[in-house]
Symmetry: C3
Subunit: 162 residues, 3 copies
Amino acid sequence: MKDMAVTSDLLVDISQLQTRYARCIDADRIEEWPDFFTEDGFYSVTTAENRRAGLEAGLIWLDGIGMIRDRVTALRDANIYERHSYRHVLGQPYVLGESDGGDIEVETSFFVVRITRDGETDVFASGCYHDALRRVDGDLKLSKRIAVCDSSHIDTLLGLPL
Amino acid sequence: MKDMAVTSDLLVDISQLQTRYARCIDADRIEEWPDFFTEDGFYSVTTAENRRAGLEAGLIWLDGIGMIRDRVTALRDANIYERHSYRHVLGQPYVLGESDGGDIEVETSFFVVRITRDGETDVFASGCYHDALRRVDGDLKLSKRIAVCDSSHIDTLLGLPL
Amino acid sequence: MKDMAVTSDLLVDISQLQTRYARCIDADRIEEWPDFFTEDGFYSVTTAENRRAGLEAGLIWLDGIGMIRDRVTALRDANIYERHSYRHVLGQPYVLGESDGGDIEVETSFFVVRITRDGETDVFASGCYHDALRRVDGDLKLSKRIAVCDSSHIDTLLGLPL
């Protein structure tokens, strides 16, 4: 990993991408979710405990845009997503540096509340995104997003992308 | 709505305005709250469910600075505001573009926790601000703020501006 | 206090410092925590109620880098920190101005969730950082951080820096 200059313009680009991503999920437009990834994009959800233990597997593991698109179909078919609504709040992105492949490595705290049908609001998940970002035709995209959840008791159905 | 360039300076201006607004509410200085609006400012609180259903009414509907000022008097007279304290946490502002009238249209996730007198902290409200911003004598002001709450079971007393 | 120009570069510097600080705590690397302070750094935790009442004392009061380092040893010895994990989410920094001594005075809302061993996530603390920042050999450091908690019923053990 190489150091890189963190300009305010770069941070704006990153945080606008991450905000658009969160808006897409919170507005239940998950059909648009694959568009945030590169063709070889990788998406995974794991827990801090698993990560510390060196377990790579994760709860969800999607390698390539095809698997990411399939996930959307599966979620819609399962129909489990519609029962609640969600709200993401993100911290400031923290730029770690540039990977050997030229991607920008970024970590960002997240926090998701769930609003159930009966109106109750609770903390659904918290954690940290481990992202790799790459510019494709001028637009910043995710070549990798690993959502590392703080709790090891994540709802196994996990009916939404984090 | 026209696209507009999102510079880091513009985002700083917007987020500093939104942060000042949140500070004003959280510090219980609601007498200063009307100053964040233009003379023809509009403020409303509604729910995501109502908005999806095309219901314009909202739980709270204040059209013009006069009604906004009256609201402050009503809240102080009702005396319901003092029982709890609140803390806003905001996401990054997302700039949609420029309206026909030249206002900047922005959406921003929010999240409010309530701290009751006995010290308990819970999630009070989450949602999205739909703002229109306009520069008046150099300062950015709200010509519109619609606070769209995720939950449909918002405390009907709602003793604070969101 | 003097007014100062809030450039996007300054805000980036401040928020990257605050984000690094939060990452350090959330990743349980509290041995690095003293490095965020100047040699004469001051760290305190208090409540909004105490502060309104003019009580200076606070729940925690560390004056100088020596006391701050001792705190880390005490926390590790007490061994109470490891039972839970924590996640900070910060609002945008709000720059108040420049102090007589040339430090940058900043206030920032914070919000901490606690994830217990059995996987439950709840709101642990919310409040506002009252920071003074100073550049030392090019790097921004805290010459003062007063964490003012909204709730008066803060866990007295308080096994982590806020």
